[in-house]
């Protein structure tokens, strides 16, 4: 395997060691956990596909979001807006189900089994996640690789990075060794924002935890609000995964997959070469 010569800065075409073992291990464990959690979570949602704000919320109360079917058409209703979703949500393949069998674990309606999957993989999210947080600060991965610098956060450089992404002009050569600022912000947002909120709002739905830690109810404004926030953050995580995968495809899937699997990444060639 070619390694970088030590007498010059790495340049486009060089194979560099980019992802450390802990990053790679956590990435794949977490990917597995998040995917199973999203899929089993959608089955759990199917048991009561209505979301509310506040401490309580049931069939006679006003939901702010619901996925349903009138028997012929599936719909997604957010506040007073109804979006027809036949074939995708509410009603698909002749079955009245908020999320279709293709994307849920288990594929058939089984709330008990979905909960069993969800709570098992929640451990796979939480334990490696906490270890990764811990390792991330100790090894300075967070401070060095993930935290955006003050320079990067200046509006002009943020705007430049947004324009670069929109034009699909990804960093090349030496600059591609580091995450760009949008990448950093989205990774930090997921690792220190969405994932912990998912865990805490999940715990807020537990009546046993609510009794012991009532501050969770105050933090999220009630069990039904926590359930809504859990769902919104799940949707944001799903959106992150889609954008993340599109970026991998655009940036070169083989090189990106090798990097996150073996650690070795080939720096993209400079454009003028």
């Amino acid at each position: 395997m070619a390694t970088q010569p030590i007498d010059r800065l790495p340049a486009g075409g060089d194979l560099i060691y980019r992802q450390r073992r802990a990053v790679r291990a956590w990435h794949w464990l977490n990917a597995l956990a998040v995917i199973v959690l999203l899929m089993s979570g959608m089955m759990i949602f199917n048991a009561h596909p209505h979301l509310y704000w506040g401490q309580y919320g049931a069939n006679n109360d006003m939901p702010w979001l619901e996925i349903g079917s009138d028997g012929e058409r599936g719909y997604l209703r957010v506040a007073s807006i109804t979006i027809p979703t036949t074939g995708v949500l509410g009603l698909a393949g002749g079955e009245e189900r908020a999320f279709p069998p293709l994307v849920t674990i288990p594929s058939g309606y089984n709330l008990a089994a979905a909960r069993q999957w969800h709570f098992f993989f929640a451990w796979l999210l939480v334990v490696p996640g906490l270890l990764f947080w811990f390792w991330g600060f100790i090894s300075r991965h967070v401070q060095r690789d993930l935290a955006p610098t003050a320079e990067e956060l200046r509006p002009t450089s943020l705007w430049q990075d947004i324009k670069d992404h929109a034009r699909l002009r990804f960093h090349t050569g030496e600059a591609a060794r580091r995450y760009n600022v949008l990448q950093k912000l989205s990774y930090v947002g997921v690792i220190f924002g969405l994932l912990p909120i998912m865990v805490l709002t999940g715990l807020t739905m537990s009546p046993g935890i609510d009794a012991a830690w009532p501050w969770l109810l105050d933090l999220y404004g009630g069990r039904q609000s926590a359930r809504s926030i859990h769902f919104i953050c799940a949707a944001l995580l799903a959106a992150f995964i889609v954008v993340h995968l599109v970026m991998v495809l655009l940036a070169g899937p083989i090189n990106e997959l090798r990097s996150i699997t073996t650690g070795w990444y080939r720096l993209p060639k400079e454009r003028d070469q």
Binding site: A47, Q55, G57, A58, D61, A113, Q116, F120, R223
Partner: protein, 253 residues
């Protein structure tokens, strides 16, 4: 060598994830080995929750202004048995709550006697396993008082609630451990929202074991039995939904 094994590991993880995304997932999910592994998570969750939480903590009690305008019913709303319907027709005047099993003094108590005993009123949140919640006001006899009157033997480990309703002939029942049974908010409710408990909500008595999900809140409680093991009751998993659909006995999450 290490690289090969790692590659193989990663490869098999990839195949596993792919399998999950397809319908083959259900075959994997249904295999007894997978069920055993997933069951480990349930045991871990229960132990972890008991480790990090105070088992005597009280569930939040709400103000009257926080109550749900409509508290929906669910599960059975009218037990099918003739005996129950006869009791309901005459206002449960001849009905008796049985307290027995591993107790020194088995009891048969009338509803009038129960209502004459000290009562606790609490406005709490009812959480269905499906995801909805409703806040209601419950009034009833602390289960501790009923158990103390009967004198629970030291060999008892669980309290089982036998109910008048059934699903296709399988009687409804539920069970809790003694810590939950003696918890101050665990009551046999005979009143709801300042009225006598309605048949739809479980008259004459409904268990309220706050800090657990709705399927633990057994309605139509006819008999309270102290036992040392759940193995001999129903299919042995501690409750109707646990037996029939594999719902978790530990229903605090």
């Amino acid at each position: 060598m290490t690289l090969l094994t790692r590659r193989r590991l990663i490869g098999s993880l990839g195949v596993g994830a792919g399998g999950l995304l397809l319908s083959g997932c259900d075959r994997i999910a249904a295999s007894p080995k997978v069920q055993d592994v997933l069951g480990l998570g349930e045991g871990l969750t229960m132990r972890a929750q008991r480790l990090v939480t105070d088992r005597t903590a009280l569930a939040r009690e709400f103000a009257a202004s926080d109550m749900s305008p409509v508290f929906r019913t669910n599960g059975n709303t009218m037990p099918a048995s003739d005996a129950y319907q006869a009791h309901a027709a005459n206002g449960f005047a001849d009905w008796r709550l049985q307290v027995d099993g591993l107790v020194r003094r088995p009891q048969k108590v009338s509803l009038a006697q129960i209502r004459a005993m000290p009562a606790r009123t609490q406005i709490t949140r009812h959480d269905c396993v499906e995801g909805w919640s409703a806040i209601g006001k419950w009034t009833g006899l602390p289960l501790k008082l009923a158990l103390d009157a009967a004198g629970v033997l030291p060999s008892a480990r669980y309290v089982v609630f036998h109910c008048a309703d059934d699903f296709d002939g399988a009687p409804y029942y539920e069970s809790i451990d003694l810590i939950d049974a003696y918890h101050p908010q665990t009551i046999l409710a005979w009143g709801m929202n300042d009225q006598l408990l309605s048949v739809g909500h479980g008259a004459p008595l409904r268990l309220r074991v706050e800090r657990q999900l709705g399927y633990k809140q057994a309605k139509y409680v006819m008999r309270v039995e102290a036992v040392d093991s759940l193995a001999r009751i129903g299919a042995g998993k501690g409750g109707y939904w646990e037996d029939s659909a594999d719902y978790q006995w530990f229903a605090a999450i």
